[in-house]
């Protein structure tokens, strides 16, 4: 464990440069160079995030949603990984240019991460109190006693009963939901600016999932931190996210506000995802509309649009040319050759509760490419 460098200034206390966002990811590319070939794991990810905001990152397994954020946190071993382009700016500082030592100050202190499996991300041989307080000892120079005291408070804060007793217990004595609360307490220990949560509720039951989501939202309201919520569950992002990035084969295929993604989506993959989820039907059950085929291998990506082989609307151009981001004035972008074709979108986008007229905004007829977009 490295001792705290007294001269170090916390990045989170520094102002965000004029005209910039808290976190700016621009065309980030990270490829793995393996014996089987080059894996295009992160291939042109762009988004912005501000304080108090929640970004939902959705996609299927292997779509690059986790590995993008591991790259941002500097957790990818290089080699085999290699940054191939793009930038990540946190409060105007480039994270990709930082030394490992500087990144250690950032991780846990400015940007913290929660992982999916609380069982494997806690060390089984250390007491909970020690693990929760570790960041404070490292980043804040707390003494053992101070760290333990703060750890107890944090456990109380995340709703763990009898925190004085629980700090002296080991991970195996906690249930799955309680372990995830410990992870949250640990991540929040140093009051981070950004909390990256990688499938934090996937291993949990629904009633426990609801508790954890509520806890994360409560903490966000209290601390004003930004959240990046990585999940495959569209229900969870509908619940939490202000903005959503949909990923496919290492690339973001669509990015926009939650409303834009759910009600005004302009990408066939997003449509496919929405159609694949069983509806909470009460009158009649409609068969699901799955996306045919399987996601492509990231080693031999098809030329053109990676979704083209599975896309029911694919044309010749889709198999030959990689689509650029078609960005709308609100910042909503879609990587589809036909994203700007209102006729195409209107004809093929799925029905939503809004388009069915339950809530009368943004019906396809009133769309025109300049005025549309909503308040981002």
């Amino acid at each position: 464990m490295k001792k705290n460098d007294k001269n170090y200034v916390d990045l989170k206390t520094q102002p965000i440069p004029e005209g910039q966002h808290l976190l700016e990811v621009d065309d980030l590319k990270m490829y793995f160079h393996t014996e089987d070939g080059v894996v295009h794991a992160v291939d042109g990810v762009s988004y912005t995030l501000d304080r108090g905001e929640t970004l939902g990152v959705v996609g299927e397994s292997g779509s690059g949603k986790s590995v993008t954020h591991m790259t941002i946190m500097g957790l990818i071993p290089m080699p085999p990984g290699k940054i191939e382009g793009g930038s990540v700016k946190y409060r105007g500082h480039s994270l990709l240019d930082m030394s490992e030592e500087e990144m250690q100050h950032v991780r846990g202190n400015d940007i913290a991460m929660i992982f999916q499996d609380p069982m494997t991300s806690l060390n089984p041989v250390y007491k909970i109190g020690k693990q929760v307080g570790e960041g404070l000892r490292l980043h804040r120079g707390y003494s053992k006693q101070e760290a333990l005291k703060r750890a107890t408070e944090l456990l109380d804060l995340v709703g763990i009963p009898q925190p004085e007793k629980r700090v002296n217990e080991y991970p195996h004595q906690f249930s799955g939901g309680m372990r995830q609360r410990v992870m949250i307490a640990m991540a929040l220990a140093c009051d981070p600016d950004i909390l990256i949560a990688d499938e934090p509720t996937t291993a949990l039951d629904v009633t426990i999932q609801a508790q954890i989501i509520e806890l994360m939202q409560e903490m966000q309201q209290k601390n004003g931190n930004a959240i990046v919520m990585i999940t495959h569950d569209l229900g969870v992002v509908a619940d939490m996210a202000d903005k959503i990035m949909v990923m496919y084969a290492g690339r973001p295929v669509e990015f926009g506000t939650a409303d834009e993604i759910f009600y005004e989506s302009r990408h066939p993959y997003t449509w496919g995802l929405i159609r694949s989820i069983p509806e909470q039907a009460v009158d009649e059950k409609k068969p699901l509309t799955p996306i045919h085929g399987n996601p492509p291998s990231l080693v031999n990506l098809p030329a053109g649009c990676p979704f083209a082989p599975r896309c029911p609307y694919a044309q010749d151009i889709c198999h030959t040319e990689r689509p650029v981001h078609h960005t709308r004035p609100s910042g909503h972008y879609s990587a589809c050759h036909f994203a700007d074709d209102d006729e195409f979108v209107k004809k093929n986008a799925p029905d939503t509760s809004r388009s069915r007229g339950k809530i009368a905004t943004g019906t396809p007829d009133t769309l025109d490419s300049t005025s549309k977009g909503g308040e981002a």
Binding site: E60, V206, G235, S353
Partner: protein, 342 residues
Amino acid sequence: MAQSTDRTPLLKVEHLSKEFPAESGVFGGRFAKRVVSAVNDVSFEIYPGETFGLVGESGCGKSTTGRTIMRLTNPTSGKVFFEGRDVAAMNKKELKAMRRNMQFIFQDPYASLNPRMTIGEIVSEPMTIHGVGTKEERMRRVRELLDVVGLNPEHINRYPHEFSGGQRQRIGIARAFALRPKLIICDEPVSALDVSIQAQVLNLLKDLQDQFGTAYLFIAHDLSVVQHISDRVAVMYLGKMVEVSDWRTLYTEPHHPYTQSLLSAVPVPDPDIQKTRKRIILAGDPPSPIDPPSGCRFHTRCPIAQEICSKEQPEWKEVADGHYCACHFAQKFPIKESHIDL
């Protein structure tokens, strides 16, 4: 398909209980005093051609129920009748004959296929065991089955590692259908799959059912999936069945507070709806099935629990035609807004 009224049930489960010794060690828990009450006094019926959904959180006993029905483990008490015959009393030979008509689809498409066997061997194995047809006939049937489940019959000599998760689950489905069973127990068949693949597999199960008239016991933790595929749905909590009804009634008129909380906890993929609806967030974790709570097992987390709930076990009563519920205060949406402090 849910016309289940005056037909004879294919499967009848009566007061089924399964306990495991809670202590482990050199004596294999033989002298254990404490037991895990995994399934407790569960009764239900499945009719030919219908899908019966079993939903609940981890540790509620839904998988144990499935395994006990198939007699992969022996019940502690209670009876299971398959086509009128008691499964628990069957000898080895009878059991083998019964399993020809009752097959299993497992959750994990990676662990449930032998990596050293080819797809052809895997799918034909049930036919080999039961001595169905000649080798050529079996291989012809395997090709047919692969075609039916949407796999290329030419891949008959490939190995499981050459397939993706969704394709492996299709192989598992082809194997389960090889003997044209009357009942298939599907234990979380889609929970390891991505949504787009999950939809493919659900549609496939539905198509095969329409084609062959197979009944499913569909075990899952995902309520929207269970609602989508099932004709009738049962909800389990801590080894007990708390509510059973047809799928529509369960979702529109839940009578048990646990069913209602479960429904409200599932996030709906629609921000407008998600913003307006009231969520019931249950406090705490499910208690341990070792020494489960007295009275109603849900009373420790129930927002509307009264004194009686910790003392007396609620009766399993019929609240409407074919709609059963075990709660002292069973009524439509038992948890009212005044019970939730938001």
